[in-house]
Symmetry: C2
Subunit: 384 residues, 2 copies
Amino acid sequence: MSVTAAQGFSAAGIAAGIKESGNPDLALVVNNGPRRAAAGVFTSNRVKAAPVLWSEQVLKGGEVTAVVLNSGGANACTGPQGFQDTHATAEKAAEVLVGHSAGEIAVASTGLIGTLLPMDKLLPGIETAAAALSEHGGEKAAIAIKTTDTVHKTAVAGGQGWTVGGMAKGAGMLAPGLATMLVVLTTDADVDAAGLDSALRAATRTTFDRVDSDGCMSTNDTVLLLASGASGVTPEQGEFAEAVRTVCADLARQLIGDAEGASKDIRIEVINAATEDDAVEVGRSIARNNLLKCAIHGEDPNWGRVLSAIGTTKAAFEPDQLNVAINGVWVCKNGGVGEDRDLVDMRYREVEITADLAAGTESAVIWANDLTADYVHENSAYSS
Amino acid sequence: MSVTAAQGFSAAGIAAGIKESGNPDLALVVNNGPRRAAAGVFTSNRVKAAPVLWSEQVLKGGEVTAVVLNSGGANACTGPQGFQDTHATAEKAAEVLVGHSAGEIAVASTGLIGTLLPMDKLLPGIETAAAALSEHGGEKAAIAIKTTDTVHKTAVAGGQGWTVGGMAKGAGMLAPGLATMLVVLTTDADVDAAGLDSALRAATRTTFDRVDSDGCMSTNDTVLLLASGASGVTPEQGEFAEAVRTVCADLARQLIGDAEGASKDIRIEVINAATEDDAVEVGRSIARNNLLKCAIHGEDPNWGRVLSAIGTTKAAFEPDQLNVAINGVWVCKNGGVGEDRDLVDMRYREVEITADLAAGTESAVIWANDLTADYVHENSAYSS
C-alpha cells in the first residue's frame, strides 16, 4: 500500500550502496499526475539539514513531481557542499524523469549528521531507482528509508473513490547519531496545494507534533503530502482532512511502537485544561521527565513524578486540585494520595497516564516512550 | 566543618527511625546568635512540598533560629495533614530549644513523594537531636540528610575573622522517587537579612541554578543561609557574596560529582552569546539532550547532537557560524565538520563542551551528567 495505494503514483526502493551494510537506502516516489500539487511541513529546529532547506524552497512552488529519499546519511551540518549535493540529487532526478526541472523535486535524507553523502553512489542509484519505478513499489520505498527501524511503516485511509496512503520512518531522534522522521503521504484526490497544506498542517499538529519519544528534535524532519488528482474526485475538505489525519495518526502511533530501546508506549492525556496550549505544555512536560520515564519502565506507578513534572509548567492549575490516573486508577486525588497504587496493572506495553488539571475543558494527547537501559545502550555503545 | 565551621552554630545528626534502614535521618542546625538573620531560596516548582511552603513563610520574617531537616520522606503531595506535620515539627523544635517560637524554625525534608512522615519517630527524634547538639556536629548533620548520596558534602570559605560553611545533599532529582537538593549555609559574619538575601540569590543563580543533572525539578529544593554575627565582623558585601558563591559552587560541583548513575561530569560553557540568558538557554538545552548525554556516556564526541540541541533554542545565532569544541578540540567549525574528532580524548570523568554562538560577548557555564544504564536502573528497578 504505502505511497502507491493512491492512483497516479509510482515508487521504488533500492540499495544504492550508501549504507555500508548493503541494505536498501534509496527511495523514489513519483507523482504521475495529472495534478502535481503538494504541501510539506519541516522540522522547526533552526539547524536544518541541506535537504530540508532545499525542499522548503521547492514546496513554496506548491508542486512536486518526485521525492528522492535516502537513508545512510542525513546531509546535516555539511555546509555549502552538502547543499550542492542535495541540488545535484534533484537535478539528477529531474534529468532521469525527463521533462521536469529540479525545482519540482523534493529531497529528504536520514542518517548520520555531519558527514557528506557518497554522491558517487547516490547519483547512479537514482537511475537504478527510476528504472525500478512501479505502481506497486510503495512497500519497497518504505523499506529503503528505514534506519534503525525494526519494521517499515505504512498506512492508508480514504473515502468514496479516493485514497490517502503514506510511509514513515524513525521516531523523534532515537537512533545513534541519526536524525529524522521522514514521512511521505500521497493521495489521488483532486485537491489543490492550499487544500493539501491546510489538511496537512491540521493533521501534523495533533499527530506527529504530539509524538515525543525522547524529547530530541531532529535537523531533518520532513512530512510531505502529494496529490495526483488521478481519482478525479474532489472530496469535501473536512472529509479529506480527516483522512489525512487518520493516516498521520496511524503512522505516528507506529513510530512510537517501534521507538528504539523502548519497552512501553505511554499515552498521556491531559484533561480539563484551561486551554489546549496548556494541555500540550503539561503533556510534553510529563513526556520528557526522565525520572517518570524510568519509573514507567520499572512498572512503578510513581505519580509524584507526574506532579513534579506538571509543577514545572506555566499552565493554569492549583496544586491541591490535581488528579492523576495511571491505567485508569486515580492514584493521585486533589494533589495528594488517591486510590491504592497497588491496583495499577502495568504489565502491558501500553501505559495510559491521565492528568486532570481541573482548570477548564480543553484536552490533548501526547505519546511518549519510557527510558530504558536499551535506549542508553543504542545511543551510546556505537561510535558514530 | 560543614555548618559548624562558622562560630555561633551547633548541629546534630541522629537516626530517628524515619528510614527503615536505621541510617541517620534527622539533622538539627541551631543558630546561637547573637544575630539570627537568615535568607532562603526555594524550588520554583509550583508543586511545593509542605516544608517548602512552611519555610518560605518563616523566611519572610528574616530570622531563623534553627533548621530541622529530615531524610527518609519528602512530605510532598501530602495535603493538609502534611502541612500540619511540618508545623508540628517546628513547634516541637521551638519547645525543645526553649524560648523560641515555631515561626523561627525552618523545616526541610527529602525522600519519597506522596507519603506522610512517621511523626511518632520524628518528634522524639528532635529531642534526641537537641540533646546531641554540638559545635562539632556539622559533619553528623551533613550525613543525616543523605538519601542516595554516596558521600556527604560540605564546604567552607571566608575572610579575615569570618567564615561561611555549608552542607548539601542530592543532585537534581536523581533518586528513585526521591526529591531534593537541600543546602544549609551558615556564617558568623555580622550581616543582616537583606545582605544575606542579596548574596544568596546572586550565588545560587550561577551555581545551584546551573546544575542540571537530569533536567528534573524537585518539589523540595531548599537553600538556606543563616548568620550568627558571632565573629563580630561585617565584611564588605562584595567579599561576603564571593565567599557565599565559592561555597555554593563547591557544593554544586560535589552534587554533580555524586549524581546517581552518572559516569561523566559535563561542563558546558557557552561563549560569545548575545546575552547571558541566551547562553544559559543554550547551555540548558545541551545539558538536557538525552541523545547527547548518551553519546558522552559512550565517549563519542558527537557534535551533531550539540548542534541539534542548540537549534531548538531561541538564542541569537546563525547555524553556519556555530563552533563546538569537545575537550578542547574544535570538532565543529562554522556549523560543519571541524578538527578531527579522533583527536578528542574522553577517557576521563570530566568532559568539557564549549559552544561558541558567535553572536556577542556573554557566556555561562552549566554542569550536567551523562545518561547511563545505571541511571535508568536506579530510577526504575526499585518500586517506591
